[in-house]
């Protein structure tokens, strides 16, 4: 998030796009509901499913999955057409405005309504006016913006909108991606990515190579970016990747096109899995290393608002398990690198040396202060919101972004759009939530949400088992008739291995960041003949 959770009461309006906030980030969802329902703040919701927040929205736009860029361009078209943009802000703080203006020119409400499958173009105008006239307005998004072949462009469009409204670099505004896992922000910050070192310092940069060789007392760091997850699985099938070390991940469940993932794992010569239970992925492993769960370990994590927080040991470890960092250190030691850490804090002290945005953060400060990166020195208070007065790159870059269709569109053979996501009671591949007794009892199995009209057309009823197929696979799953999904759109949560959504999803990737298009593919739903 560019901004902070504690600024939610400061926002006068919210645009929630591609985020089922009350289910996937429930505590933030409640905070936003509180502002809207009890304090009368304005709310625009854009989502293919009529999520809980849609009920409280001033304007709700039920778009076709994969058409975010069109609707955002539509908002900007109306804003520029009616002269509601932040003219001074654009002039002094941004560049690229002319290109953006030229691009959005054709995105009239009528044109956008057609692409997005909306009946009433006037609602686009109403939403755009509301967002432009109420400030500060905060934009919140989640995987419903990013998990598309056009994910990067979706994010850029969000930034475009907030820049032309002057909502970046101000308290209560911002472009606020809600991070889906407790340390996905930190894992990125720490350089657990194929092309960057900690703090996003670039791999193909000689100066960085030198910096890290010196800091790590190492030689021959590679200048070549590595594989991303989905690329590496393709490389395994091609025979280029021989060994895979999976640490706290469950790609068999979490990656698109499960059949392809399993094919890749089977093609490997050697698979190591380090985890807390025998996951679906660990079943394919050659070696399984038992690690610590979150309540057994010390360390720190960085939340969605860049706040770095200390995790503490609450219970004694089970079995013969070891600290995860100890296991990694042991591997390094046994390969001739004499790393010597006694405790998690020793590692964090090293992190501070090489990660400028974390340099001023200490364990002691984390315990006492609310501290958000960037925090370059121990005297620095941390950063509540980014891009104040000036963007990190200088001028904010506006870019003209065209709407592009998803990789797979419906056709007579696969006539329904499938979208996937999470439920309130479960998390990701279920390794934790499905092994929690109460959560598992509340929602013990998966289902497919089908609109009542579609259910009637398919001749299926609530609770009935159906076959759902795509070009990649087929599953059997119970129907939940629900008014939430748009006509001709079905939704399946991906937590359940018995009815695994990712057997169906497509492994089309965004060309820039390589995110898979989990949120849209073409499927068919068939009644199972009795």
């Amino acid at each position: 998030m560019t901004n902070s959770i504690r600024e939610i009461p400061v926002s006068e309006a919210f645009l929630i796009i591609g985020s089922n906030t009350t289910e996937n980030h429930p505590v933030i969802g409640s905070m936003i509901k509180n502002e809207v329902i009890r304090k009368g703040k304005k709310l625009v919701v854009v989502d293919p499913r009529e999520i809980e927040l849609a009920k409280y929205a001033d304007v709700y736009l039920q778009i076709k999955p994969g058409t975010n860029i069109a609707i955002l361009n539509g908002f900007m078209h109306v804003i520029l057409r009616d002269g509601l943009e932040a003219k001074e802000y654009i002039k002094t703080r941004c560049e690229g405005f002319d290109e953006l203006a030229a691009t959005v020119k054709k995105y009239t409400p009528e044109y956008v309504a057609e692409i997005c499958g909306l009946d009433d173009p006037e609602k686009i105008v109403e939403a755009a006016h509301l967002l432009a006239k109420t400030s500060p307005m905060a934009l919140y998004y989640c995987m419903g913006i990013t998990q598309f072949r056009s994910g990067v462009n979706g994010v850029k469009s969000c930034a475009n909108l907030q820049m032309i409204l002057g909502n970046l670099g101000v308290a209560g505004g911002g472009v606020n991606p809600l991070r889906g896992q407790n340390n996905v922000q930190g894992a990125c910050d720490m350089g657990a990515l194929n092309a960057v070192y900690p703090a996003y310092q670039k791999v193909p940069d000689e100066a960085m190579k030198e910096k890290f060789e010196k800091a790590w007392n190492a030689t021959g760091l590679s200048l070549k970016p590595g594989f991303t997850i989905v690329e590496s699985l393709n490389a395994a099938i091609a025979g280029d990747v021989k060994a895979l070390y999976v640490f706290g991940e469950n790609p068999v469940m979490s990656d698109p096109n499960q059949h392809h993932v399993i094919e890749a794992l089977e093609a490997l010569d050697f698979l190591v899995v380090q985890d807390i239970v025998l996951t679906e992925t660990a079943k394919y492993a050659d070696v399984v290393l038992p690690g610590f769960s979150f309540l057994e370990k010390e360390g720190c994590v960085s939340n969605t608002e860049r706040r770095v927080q200390k995790m503490n040991r609450v219970v004694a470890p089970v079995g013969d398990n070891r600290e995860d960092w100890w296991i990694i250190m042991q591997l390094a030691n046994r390969m001739g690198h004499p790393w010597k850490y006694e405790k998690a804090e020793d590692i964090f002290e090293e992190i501070r040396q090489v990660t400028p945005s974390y340099a001023g953060i200490t364990y002691e400060r984390m315990e006492k202060e609310l501290i958000q990166w960037p925090c370059p020195t121990e005297e620095h208070p941390g950063t509540q919101y980014l891009h104040k007065d000036k963007f990190s790159r200088g001028l904010g870059l506006l870019s003209g972004i065209e709407y592009t269709a998803p990789a797979e569109e419906v056709d007579p053979e696969y006539p329904i759009i499938l979208t996937t996501g999470r439920l309130l009671e479960h998390f990701h591949t279920g390794t934790m939530s499905r092994n929690s007794r109460i959560l598992d009892a509340i929602v013990p199995e998966g289902y497919i949400e089908v609109n009542p009209n579609d259910a009637q057309n398919l001749n299926v009823v609530d609770g009935e088992l159906v076959a759902v197929s795509t070009r990649r696979g087929s599953i059997r799953i119970k129907v939940k008739v629900s008014r939430r999904p748009k006509d001709n759109v079905v939704f399946i949560p991906f937590h359940f291995y018995e009815a695994c959504a990712n057997k169906l999803t497509i492994d089309a990737l965004d060309p820039g960041c390589k995110i898979p298009e989990f949120k849209v593919c073409a499927c068919k739903v068939e009644k199972i003949a009795v």
């Binding site: 429930p26 809600l178 889906g180 896992q181 407790n182 340390n183 996905v184 922000q185 930190g186 894992a187 910050d189 720490m190 350089g191 657990a192 070192y197 900690p198 790590w216 190492a218 070549k224 594989f227 997850i229 590496s232 021989k242 895979l244 640490f247 492993a285 070696v287 290393l289 038992p290 769960s293 979150f294 370990k297 720190c300 939340n303 969605t304 608002e305 706040r307 927080q309 609450v314 219970v315 079995g319 398990n321 995860d324 042991q330 390094a332 046994r334 390969m335 998690a344 590692i347 309130l424 009671e425 998390f427 990701h428 934790m432 939530s433 929690s436 007794r437 959560l439 509340i442 898979p516």
Partner: protein, 354 residues
């Protein structure tokens, strides 16, 4: 005195308070105790239970949780008359319900119990007419409700309306028939409740409790340690309670975190996987097609010999690693350092995109 400050006298001592504060807030700000039941700093003021009454300017008796401070005001927080009023309220509350502390989750952590203890109130033993109210221990997987322990303070109603913003709880009936209801007279498990548990966390008695707690350890036997929730990226801070056997018992939202004490159903109930039978407890190595238990030395040496072999023969880029967004900064840092500095490849990624 600074701008907006007010001077008043509480129990003969001159104290300062901010304009707009209530007497209760002013007293607490100055370290002076006034008992409360319906009041909670996270929700709007109710003024229902009357236990916080104080005497103002030697004549008026008012609820301190709702009465604003005024310049020169003289407040007495507890004299004989106030004590009698409080005792009367407590006697009525005790008589109206079925407050059996012997088998109650809240025993030792009950605000009604501590006030009865403080003011020396015993159950009257008389045949006070009672309305038997609902006991629902089964309908919800997360929450239990025994309304015979309810004192109608309304904290749960407001917690649901103002914190979770779900409006599941409300009051129904009038006078002695007043009682809690969820949605339109549904059982809590059949209602629109999302099991966030905030109402339980704020209940001053044992009327609302968590399913998994009773029998696992009494309040004074539990140890509290704080950490961060493992699920989404909000990063809620949680106080976890363990019993004398080291078993996890319950999770309460911690006020220091970005969540301000609030939790969702996952943070509240999704922790027992940590102590589930399904946990791995030994390294495993595949032998003859099966994963079999092995020693750490055996497992680590095998991994090292394999990695070294592929590095040598196929080059560093033939080894890939997936790091984890569910693990700490230290662990993620170390894994990417291992891949870059030890293996010699940038083949490291994690589930940020998944």
């Amino acid at each position: 005195m600074g701008n907006g400050n007010i001077t008043l006298t509480i129990n003969g001592e001159e104290v300062t308070a901010q304009k707009g504060q209530t007497i209760l807030e002013a007293a607490r700000g100055n370290g002076i105790f006034i008992p409360t039941l319906c009041y909670h700093q996270k929700i709007s003021k109710t003024g229902a239970c009357r236990i916080c009454v104080v005497k103002i300017n030697d004549r008026m008796i008012k609820t301190s949780c709702t009465e604003p401070v005024t310049e020169g005001m003289k407040v007495e927080t507890e004299d004989e008359e106030i004590v009698e009023i409080r005792k009367g309220i407590l006697e009525l509350l005790l008589a109206e319900g079925d407050h059996n502390c012997l088998y109650c989750d809240a025993n030792g952590d009950c605000e009604l119990q501590s006030l009865c203890y403080r003011y020396g109130i015993e159950p009257s033993g008389s045949d006070f007419p009672k309305n038997t109210r609902e006991i629902d221990y089964d309908s919800s997987y997360g929450l239990k409700r025994n309304e015979n322990r309810c004192i109608l303070c309304g904290r749960c109603v407001k917690a649901c309306a103002e914190i979770q913003v779900k409006n599941v709880w409300s009051f129904a009936g009038r006078g002695s028939h007043a009682h809690l209801t969820s949605d339109i007279s549904e059982k809590i498990g059949d209602s629109s409740c999302v099991a966030c548990g905030t109402c339980v966390q704020m209940c001053p008695t044992g009327a609302l409790s968590f399913q998994q707690v009773l029998g696992k350890g009494q309040a004074w036997e539990l140890t509290k340690s704080s950490s961060i929730c493992i699920y989404c990226g909000v990063g809620c801070k949680i106080d976890f309670y363990t019993n004398r056997e080291g078993q996890l018992v319950k999770a309460l939202g911690c006020d220091d975190g970005p969540n301000n004490g609030h939790l969702c159903v996952k943070g509240r109930f999704g922790f027992d996987f940590v102590q589930s039978d399904k946990r791995l407890k030994k390294p495993l190595i595949r032998k003859n097609g099966n994963l079999e238990e092995a020693s750490w030395d055996e497992a680590l040496d095998l991994v090292v010999s394999k990695f070294s072999g592929y590095k040598e023969k196929n080059g560093p880029d033939s080894i890939m690693s997936f790091s984890s967004a569910k693990c700490t900064n230290e662990e993620n840092y170390l894994l990417q350092k291992f891949m870059r500095a030890v293996i010699g490849t940038n083949n490291v990624d994690h589930c940020a995109r998944l």
